[in-house]
């Protein structure tokens, strides 16, 4: 930035008549929610939802004034005549079998689907430009979206918001499964929040914890909604969601207890003054019907029961806007403890680091008698750096063998080592190509040339062949008459 210069010069301006005529501001509101769900597998899922609602007709006004709604997205809506925009970035995959059904579904990688207004003439051009702009805003590779990975679904992906007609010509959908989600995608997402990450629930959004999880999904959804019950005019709703699944074993040293501080390494300190609703929901559903298995601290103000996705759930509700909630200690650290720790043995897992250390997985399991225990580990084949291949790469690579120890008396069992065949490249390919080409060219051209330019004539065997000459040489040396 160039040097700043204090403004000392002030031009006297004949400003028009002063006085206040306070125009009716378009109303906007922010509501934030956090749902914490202990998952059946022992992991903990946290789902944030920030909803910004703006009672404004974005497309009509020439000059746009933004308050809670982020300007960057508002400009997109008006410039590209968007009706709906849904963008999600996901790292990992929601394991429905272990974690139960998710609140918010998203595919791995980046997903973008957009409904344009029916006034847009060249949908493909707008779509291309929009994906480029979004790639700039969210620091993602959305600019790789082109006609090869864009589809126009005709039956699915109906508009989620207010829509009069659904002509699927104005819908575009693209997925980038390879997109890796990281801090640089989270930072611009956080900047769209009115309270940034300074107050309210967004304080918990600390990148180094959020990406230390088994599942991370962040999304932006924009849609028009009815402003009032009779739906005479529309409002715009921006929904920013973020779901993470914390691996309880890694963060909790094998215990299933958790607290906000342990998960996010932050606690809630103050409510966002701009939010009209700011709540934390904790799922305290009893899994065993007979007795209470878990307790939360501090005890919630209210609890709430509902049937969600087919199961009856109980939630403890903490309202941050309730001034008594963030108490004298000036922070709120919600904790959950299991009264009777479930028998789950001990699992210690130390993930590998490429080229530095191997994986270590230790499990303390009580095996029933006469049983078969099967431990399976999935792995992916990968290409090594070409200097890291052994001289005989086709032989394969050894994986260290599992060891099992008995606990009561000394018995240690070793299994066979595993030999894995890794994909090996053809190391000699470029050399072969050059050699072959050179040989073909030299042989073809050389023989052809020789054939055409050589002079062929019959030679009289005057002095005989080479053998005769050699024989004569030897004979001369021996003093024998020549042939």
């Amino acid at each position: 930035m160039a040097a700043a210069i204090p403004l000392s010069l002030l031009v006297l301006l004949l400003l028009g008549p002063g006085g206040w005529c306070l125009a009716e501001h378009p109303r906007d509101s922010l509501r934030e929610e956090l749902v914490i769900t202990p998952l059946p597998s022992g992991d903990v899922a946290a789902t944030f939802q920030f909803r910004t609602r703006w009672d404004s007709e974005l497309q009509r006004e020439g000059v746009s004034h933004y308050r809670l709604f982020p300007k960057a997205l508002g400009q997109l809506i008006s410039k590209y005549s968007l009706r709906e925009l849904h963008l999600s970035f996901t790292q990992g995959f929601w394991r429905t079998r272990y974690w139960g059904p998710p609140f918010l579904q998203a595919p791995s990688g980046a997903e973008l689907w957009v409904w344009f207004q029916d006034t847009v003439t060249d949908v493909d051009k707008s779509w291309k430009e929009l994906s480029n702009v979004l790639s700039g805003i969210f620091c993602a590779s959305l600019n790789f979206i082109d006609s090869t990975n864009t589809v126009t679904p005709t039956a699915s992906f109906k508009p989620l918001g207010l829509a009069n007609d659904t002509d699927h010509y104005f819908l575009r959908y693209a997925v980038l499964p390879r997109e890796v989600v990281c801090t640089e995608n989270l930072t611009p997402w956080k900047k769209l929040l009115p309270c940034s990450s300074k107050a309210g629930l967004s304080v918990l959004l600390k990148a180094d914890r959020l990406f230390h999880t088994s599942y991370h999904s962040q999304a932006v959804h924009i849609r028009p909604v009815c402003r009032n019950a009779r739906c005479t005019s529309i409002s715009w709703e921006l929904r920013q969601t973020l779901s993470v699944v914390f691996d309880a074993f890694i963060t909790g040293q094998g215990k299933k207890d958790w607290s906000l501080f342990r998960m996010f390494s932050r606690t809630l300190t103050e409510p966002c003054p701009l939010a009209s609703e700011s709540r934390v929901y904790v799922d305290i559903t009893n899994y065993n019907q007979d007795n209470e298995t878990l307790e939360v601290h501090p005890s919630p103000t209210t609890t709430y029961q509902d049937v969600i996705l087919g199961t009856r759930k109980t939630y403890a509700i903490y309202d941050l806007l309730d001034s008594a909630m963030i108490n004298n200690s000036r922070n709120l650290n919600i904790q959950l403890k299991w009264k009777r720790p479930p028998e789950n043995g001990y699992i210690h897992y130390q993930p590998a680091q490429d080229r530095l250390q191997p994986h270590l997985l230790e499990m303390l399991i009580q095996l029933p008698a006469n049983s078969v225990t099967k431990v399976s580990i999935q792995f992916e084949r990968a290409l090594l750096k070409w200097t890291e291949y052994t001289p005989d790469p086709n032989h394969g690579f050894y994986v260290r063998f599992p060891v099992s120890d008995g606990s009561n008396y000394f018995v240690r069992l070793y299994t066979e080592p595993l030999l894995v065949n890794l994909p090996t490249p053809d190391f000699s390919m470029p050399y072969n190509v050059i050699c072959l080409t050179c040989t073909v060219v030299a042989v073809c051209y050389g023989s052809f040339y020789n054939l055409l330019t050589r002079t062929f004539h019959i030679e009289e065997p005057r002095t005989g062949g080479l053998a005769k000459r050699l024989a004569n040489l030897i004979r001369r040396a021996r003093g024998v008459p020549l042939l």
Binding site: L7, L10, H65, S196
Partner: protein
């Protein structure tokens, strides 16, 4: 038998020679051109000579000035000579490769009846109102009215008056050399209203060699087709301050009229946003004497960077953005004042950053804290804020205060805050700047393409270059004939076309092969082909020479 054999051998040898020669011929006639053609890069022809000619372009900026003499302004016998035209030409000394000449073409004529009537009215406002009506003047042209020496239209001690439109009034004189004296005064006033070295130097600041003034001159925004203006209210402490600003009304009332007046210079879009928890990058210094906080001038550059990340890029357009920030300091740091070099608080409590925008610190009145609980509702006084922001906007567009000649009265500004001749002056400067930018772009493009011969030049790039060159020439011609509006449009076209050509992505698809890679590819192909051909050519050459020498020896 032997003779026949020798003859046959000779025949074979001759055939072998012919075959070798034919090989060589095919390789040279067919092979080489084929190789050349297939590996050649497509390069459309470019007007290199015209582009290098642009550097030595002479810009003549012609300002048509109509000088109207009223009845008693000059001696009678001088009036007899009217109408006639005088040209005043002057070179503007700038250290720039383009020669810029400024030419005032003064068309002298007598006043028409309604002009006489208007200029004999009681006050300047009335006269202006009456003169305004007939016709709109063309952009860049000026009209000067010479009134009688003793006219009461101007205050007695004033010699001239510059109006808000494209008119000025100059006092006449009853003197033998009246035309000369009045002519000098007219040039003085016309210069103030149109072209001065300052304006052009500021316009060309990027192209001039560095000097100590250049930093100051680089304040104006670079010329562009359009501009985005963003007003941001920064509220770092929403717990204590509930700030409201009537930005809609302020934009409608103050900013939009100004931008409408400026609309000839580009497209403008205005928006606003409120950013919460956005703090400045430096901690202000506490002054216990006045119990207030101060930002030193040398700290100001560090203020902007942390805020800028929150401002959000203008996602929707490519135009440069002008940011105007209204900063309401947090309760813990208020009141906050900006200090200038001497340590005195800046009256406006605002500063601006060249080519970026302006920041104003808006302190909440301390009385509001007493009565109510936090957060306090703060209504921003938009008149005070907009005064500062509009002044900064003028500076950032390079509309500097005019250098008024001595004894000259300047009219009050128009309600939109911009005088018509100030807009003309901006257009002059922007046209010259655009021409300089386009010329530089074209020159560097030609240089680059000339230096790297592997770059493909497509036809559309070439046509953009031709269009840019034609537009530069057209703009220079229009400037020389005094048509400012069309010259400005042509200069904008020149910049757009030249940058389109320069930034064309096809130029980036560089077919660049390093020499060692070329050899690696060519040697396996060429060596087996070339060596036999060359060897047999050498052999044929030696034999022919031998056969030439033989007959001489036998002689």
């Amino acid at each position: 038998m032997a003779a026949a054999g020798a003859a046959a051998t000779d025949l074979e040898v001759a055939r072998g020679k012919r075959a070798a020669l034919f090989f060589a011929a095919v390789a040279i006639v067919l092979g080489l051109p084929l190789w050349w053609k297939t590996t050649e890069t497509y390069r459309a022809s470019l007007p290199y000579s015209q582009i290098s000619g642009l550097n030595a372009l002479q810009l003549r900026l012609m300002v048509p000035v109509t000088v109207v003499f009223t009845r008693e302004s000059v001696p009678l016998d001088d009036q007899e000579k009217l109408p006639f035209t005088v040209v005043h030409e002057r070179e503007i000394p700038l250290k720039y490769k383009m020669k810029i000449k400024c030419r005032f073409q003064k068309a002298y004529r007598r006043a028409l009846d309604h002009e006489e009537e208007a200029l004999s009215s009681g006050s300047m406002q009335e006269a202006e109102a009456m003169l305004d009506e007939p016709q709109e003047q063309a952009e860049g042209s000026l009209t000067m009215y010479v009134i009688s020496e003793h006219s009461s239209l101007l205050p007695q001690d004033m010699m001239s008056y510059i109006g808000p439109k494209r008119t000025a009034v100059v006092r006449g004189i009853m003197h033998r050399e009246a035309f000369n004296i009045i002519g000098r005064r007219i040039v003085q006033v016309a210069q103030a209203m149109s072209l001065t070295e300052d304006v052009l130097a500021a316009a060309l600041a990027d192209h001039l060699p560095e000097d100590k003034w250049s930093a100051e001159k680089r304040r104006p925004l670079k010329s562009s087709l359009g501009y985005e203006i963003t007003f941001s209210l920064l509220n770092p402490d929403p717990k204590s301050h509930d700030v409201h600003w009537d930005i809609e009304g302020a934009v409608r009332r103050y900013v939009q009229p100004f931008l409408n007046a400026l609309s000839a210079a580009g497209n403008f879009s205005v928006d606003s946003q409120i950013l919460y928890y956005a703090v400045l990058g430096v901690n202000p210094r506490f002054d216990s004497a006045s119990s207030s906080y101060y930002l030193d001038m040398h700290n100001l550059p560090h203020v902007i960077n942390p805020v800028e990340s929150r401002l959000g890029s203008s996602a929707a357009s490519l135009y440069p953005v002008l940011n105007f920030l209204l900063y309401v300091p947090e309760l813990a740091h208020s009141p906050l004042y900006i200090q200038d070099k001497d340590g005195a608080p800046v009256a406006t409590n605002a500063f601006h950053s060249p080519r970026w925008g302006g920041i104003m610190v808006y302190n909440v009145d301390s009385k509001t804290y007493n009565a109510s609980v936090l957060p306090v509702r703060v209504e921003v006084d938009m008149v005070r804020v907009m005064e500062v922001f509009l002044a900064q906007l003028r500076l950032l567009f390079g509309i500097a205060q005019p250098q008024v000649p001595p004894k000259c009265l300047l009219s009050g500004p128009k309600s939109e805050g911009l005088m018509t001749w100030e807009l003309d002056r901006l257009l002059w400067a922007r046209s010259v700047e655009n021409l300089a930018t386009a010329t530089t772009t074209l020159t560097s493009l030609a240089q680059l393409l000339g230096k790297i011969s592997n770059i493909v030049i497509k036809d559309d790039v070439a046509s953009e270059v031709y269009r840019a060159v034609a537009a530069v020439q057209k703009s220079a011609e229009e400037l020389a004939s005094g048509h400012l509006a069309s010259a400005f449009v042509a200069s904008q076209e020149a910049v757009t076309s030249s940058e389109l050509a320069f930034f064309d992505p096809s130029l980036l698809h560089l077919l660049y092969f390093p020499d060692d890679q070329k050899f690696a590819i060519y040697i396996p192909l060429f060596l087996p082909m070339a060596v036999p051909i060359l060897l047999s050519l050498v052999k044929i050459f030696l034999e022919t020479r031998k056969s030439w020498k033989k007959p001489q020896k036998t002689d």
